[in-house]
């Protein structure tokens, strides 16, 4: 019984939140990795692109809620999501037209584009704060739990409860669909193959029938869609605050780099590595250990390696370790 309780506690506080957070990071990191692999720079504006897309979804969700339109048990944000994606695509393509294209024509070095993307980041950040404000916004509705901790306890008679939130399941299901679609697109369609070709060898791609401007446009469209989806899922699961999305840049980049930047498979693996490291290191293990240890050895403290305030430090440390010992990441990426 104690053992079962320990497993349930572990699943409730570590496994399920870790999987949901990992999926969100993975979708975010896929966006970063695509820009790096195809457009060849680290896009620091990615976090704020996520915030921008999510902002549109939130505004639309509020409007739908005021009209009384909803999806029953599912969050209303799902109806708003496609429009949010379109809005974000519009914003990103406009940015490319106004900013990045100029530097692409100059054949600017990646390091210049990185700084340019920081400029874009500050502007997008400002735009989002101007429109929706810097505060926490909540837009989740529908059924909150699929199984609440109390129901679980009543059902099983265990002392520990296992709560599964709708948004967590939604996150994982969406992530699976998005990843499957993306890999199908990249590997099976001509459009996706031209993106891969451009990423493999830009010089050669230019000397083929591949239209470089179209590849760039496709990349931005996909990146904007991924960013909006990742942002909306994160916002539903936790809450939306522009500054938090800016901060998310660190774990997202860590995920992409850990997996091997430029490699989509690596981005997914990296997302889960970072998410589980963050969750396990900042989790107070006392609850699980109480069930597992013999009574005299039961911990009296929280057995928390680090306070949750430091969770971004975890991704930072992992990022440093990977860059020091295996700069190309778990899966071979493009970084040198």
């Amino acid at each position: 019984m104690d053992f079962l309780n320990a497993i349930v506690a572990l699943a409730n506080y570590v496994l399920i939140p870790g999987i949901a957070y990992g999926s969100q990071l993975a979708i975010g990191a896929l966006g970063v990795t695509l820009v790096y692999g195809i457009l060849r720079f680290s896009n620091f504006a990615h976090g704020d692109t996520m915030a921008f897309g999510t902002m549109i979804v939130i505004l639309l969700t509020w409007w739908l809620q005021s009209l009384g339109i909803n999806l029953g048990p599912l969050p209303t944000a799902l109806i708003a999501l496609p429009v949010g994606i379109l809005g974000c695509i519009g914003m990103v393509l406009l940015t490319d037209r106004l900013v990045y294209r100029f530097y692409r024509e100059q054949k600017a070095k990646p390091v210049i584009l990185v700084i340019v993307s920081m400029g874009v980041m500050f502007i997008m950040n400002g735009v989002v704060r101007l429109i929706i404000g810097p505060d926490d916004q909540s837009f989740a509705d529908g059924e909150r739990f699929i199984i609440s901790a109390r129901d679980f306890k009543n059902m099983t008679g265990l002392a520990e409860g296992l709560g599964i939130r709708t948004t967590q399941v939604l996150t994982v299901v969406t992530a699976v669909i998005v990843v499957a679609l993306l890999f199908w697109f990249l590997n099976k369609t001509r459009a996706g193959k031209s993106m891969r070709a451009y990423s493999d060898n830009e010089d050669l791609a230019l000397l083929s029938g591949i239209n470089p401007e179209r590849v760039v446009m496709l990349t931005w469209i996909i990146v904007a869609a991924l960013a909006t989806i990742a942002g909306t899922l994160y916002g539903l699961d936790k809450s939306f605050k522009p500054f938090t999305y800016f901060q998310l840049l660190l774990p997202i980049f860590a995920s992409a780099v850990v997996g091997g930047i430029g490699n989509p498979l690596g981005a997914i693996a990296g997302g889960f590595v970072i998410a589980f490291s963050e969750v396990t290191i900042t989790y107070a293990w006392k609850k699980v250990l109480v069930y597992l240890m013999p009574e005299p050895l039961e911990p009296s403290g929280l057995v928390q390696l680090m306070s949750t305030d430091y969770k971004f430090a975890v991704s930072f440390v992992i990022l440093l370790i990977v860059l020091l010992f295996k700069p190309t990441g778990l899966f071979k990426g493009q970084s040198t």
């Binding site: 001509r190 891969r196 050669l204 230019l206 029938g209 239209n211």
Partner: protein
């Protein structure tokens, strides 16, 4: 076909191409030889639009093509290969070839979802063409191999194959024989001759292997220090005093004299 008129390309103070003028006849296989650093590859890069010329003009079939970007030239039928073979390493050899033709309907997002039938038809035709090209080059067994894993010589063949996927008019081959063994070099040579005869491709070949040049090329152009030193048949070039001094060395001259 191609007329290069007083072309200059300077890198800072270094004059890589320094007033080169030459004419490439339609239907010819022109050899371009010269010592390392003579500006042969730079000349290729300028003609193919990879580098911008400092001054001078390049025209193709009477049309000024100076400074046009590579993919525009590609659509005009001017193709090039690289000294070090380039390939899409994560894709199979067949896919590498299938990527070449431009304007495929599968490139747009819309068609990816709503034009499946048209794409499938196109892909089938492309696939058949790619397989035909691989067979022509006698490397049909590599069709499903990742292009990043094949040998250097096979990559050179694949590069030649890329030019066969579209109706090329003129193909610039940059050291197609470098690091390739004799047997494979003969295969490449055969393919070049057949493409020239059967499809009317014009070739410009940078090469250091004199036997290879002798077998394929007429005329031969010798460059040195960014300028054209001499132009003529290989025998004329070999007999040219300036060429001997700049490139071939006196050893060859002595050997020929002994031979005679």
């Amino acid at each position: 076909m191609i007329v290069v008129d007083d072309l200059h390309k300077h890198f800072g103070g270094f004059h890589a191409v320094d007033g080169a003028s030459l004419t490439i006849e339609q239907g010819s296989i022109t050899g371009l030889i010269g010592p390392n650093g003579a500006g042969k590859t730079t000349l290729f890069n300028v003609i193919a639009g990879v580098l911008k010329s400092t001054s001078g003009r390049v025209s193709m079939a009477g049309e000024d093509i100076t400074g046009l970007p590579p993919h525009t030239l590609f659509h005009k039928g001017l193709l090039r290969t690289f000294q070090i073979a380039h390939e899409f390493h994560s894709m199979s050899c067949r896919e590498n070839l299938m990527m070449v033709p431009g304007g495929q309907s599968g490139e747009t997002l819309w068609n990816t979802w709503f034009g499946r039938k048209r794409i499938a038809d196109e892909e089938r035709a492309l696939r058949a063409k790619a397989d035909e090209v691989l067979e022509f080059l006698t490397v049909e067994h590599l069709a499903d191999q990742k292009a990043g894993q094949i040998s250097g010589g096979q990559k050179k063949l694949l590069e030649l194959g890329r030019t066969m996927m579209v109706d090329a008019k003129i193909v610039f081959l940059d050291e197609v024989g470098a690091g390739v063994n004799r047997t494979l070099l003969n295969t490449i040579g055969d393919a070049i001759l057949r493409l020239n005869k059967e499809r009317g491709y014009t070739f410009v070949v940078i090469e250091h292997d004199m036997d290879f040049i002798g077998r394929l090329c007429d005329p031969v152009i010798c460059m040195a220090e960014g300028r054209v030193l001499a132009q003529g048949t290989l025998d004329e070039i070999k007999a040219n005093e300036q060429v001997i001094e700049a490139y071939l060395g006196t050893g060859l001259k002595n050997k020929e004299q002994v031979g005679a």
